[in-house]
């Protein structure tokens, strides 16, 4: 029977060699694939650490969010609107973001995530007066979650259409995550990171596919060897020249 022929002890060495090579190629491919994703993530992070630009250079108050400015560090000056402060629930380890609008001189305000705290009670008083803040520009959220209690100042997401209920002026279609955070608060994580360039670490991805191809080749060689040399007739040695 062909199967028992393939399992004869004298063939075990070749089976094991094929298996070992296959495992090696899969492992090396995974290693290159991981290197690819880690390097892209690192580049995303790096893009959020470039020199800040004035908010007005990134977008105007009536503009849609500029897609190429996700995570762009910006500086913005204005007057705090403490009465418009809202708290966004369910953030990093189940805490809250403290969000206060900053009114810019042209009359529109931008929502500023001042930082994170574990409980609503731990939040410091919202700031007032004028300030210049630095932080990362983020697109407004819209993840479909519903505000279950519209009478309080806690929201499930930073959606501009919800936040605008708490102020009486226009809001930018964006928000800023303050870096460093405001007093008494921890740094809020960025919800959206910029895309790394398409060619970033492309070589690692190409090598990953190449290793997996070599894995397929190992299987192919193993199969040809079974088909040509082992299964047809175990008694007859294959002709080589």
């Amino acid at each position: 029977m062909p199967l028992s022929r393939a399992l004869q002890p004298r063939h075990w060495g070749f089976h094991l060699l094929a298996l070992g090579l296959l495992a090696t190629t899969i492992g090396l491919g995974v290693w290159q694939y991981d290197a690819w994703s880690i390097r892209r993530e690192a580049e995303s992070r790096d893009l959020t650490r470039v020199q800040p630009i004035p908010l007005a250079d990134a977008m105007g108050p009536d503009d849609a969010f500029p897609g190429n400015r996700v995570g762009q560090p910006v500086t913005v000056s204005g007057t705090w609107v403490p009465s418009g402060t809202v708290y966004i629930s369910g953030r990093e380890r189940d805490g809250f973001w403290a969000v206060t609008p900053l009114s810019t001189p042209d009359g529109s305000a931008i929502e500023v995530v001042r930082g994170w705290a574990a409980t609503r009670a731990a939040m410091p008083q919202p700031p007032s007066g004028t300030a210049t803040v630095t932080g990362s520009l983020q697109p407004p959220e819209g993840n479909g979650s519903v505000d279950t209690d519209s009478s309080d100042d806690v929201l499930p997401q930073l959606r501009i259409a919800d936040a605008i209920q708490y102020v009486d002026q226009d809001l930018f279609s964006a928000y800023v995550v303050m870096t460093p955070p405001g007093p008494g608060l921890a740094q809020a994580d960025l919800a959206a990171l910029p895309d790394a360039g398409a060619f970033t670490a492309l070589r690692n991805l190409l090598y990953a596919f190449e290793w997996w191809f070599f894995g397929c080749f190992v299987v192919f060689v193993w199969w040809r060897w079974l088909r040509d040399d082992v299964l047809p007739d175990a008694g007859r040695q294959p002709v080589t020249r």
Binding site: R203, Y207, E210, F213, F217, F220, V221, D228
Partner: protein
């Protein structure tokens, strides 16, 4: 399948040439002073050649293996054929051996 040898031959020359370019690129990258224009060129040039060599070598592997099976060459010679794409200059010698074996199937 009769076209296997001509395809093998072209691939062997391309892989062999790319491998020599890769060695030259590596030499530029690692033997010249950091920041010099030759070193810069080596740094740009090496990864492109390395990926190009790698992908053409994938095709070479399959074609070389199919040719070796069709001609029923021995396992050691097949292994040398496959590995030749990774050792600089060796592939040109191997290609001559393959040509000789293909043209004189009964001798060798």
């Amino acid at each position: 399948m009769q076209k296997l040898f001509p395809i093998y031959r072209v691939l062997a020359y391309v892989v062999g040439t790319l491998l020599i370019l890769l060695v030259l690129g590596m030499a530029m990258k690692y033997l010249f002073a950091e920041g010099s224009s030759v070193q810069d060129f080596g740094k740009q040039f090496t990864p492109i050649v390395a990926v190009g060599h790698g992908y053409i070598y994938m095709v070479y592997l399959v074609v070389a293996f199919l040719l070796a099976r069709r001609e029923r060459w021995s396992v050691p010679f097949t292994v040398v054929m496959l590995a030749a794409g990774l050792i600089p200059v060796l592939i040109f010698w191997v290609e001559k051996q393959v040509e000789h074996k293909v043209l004189n199937p009964t001798t060798a």
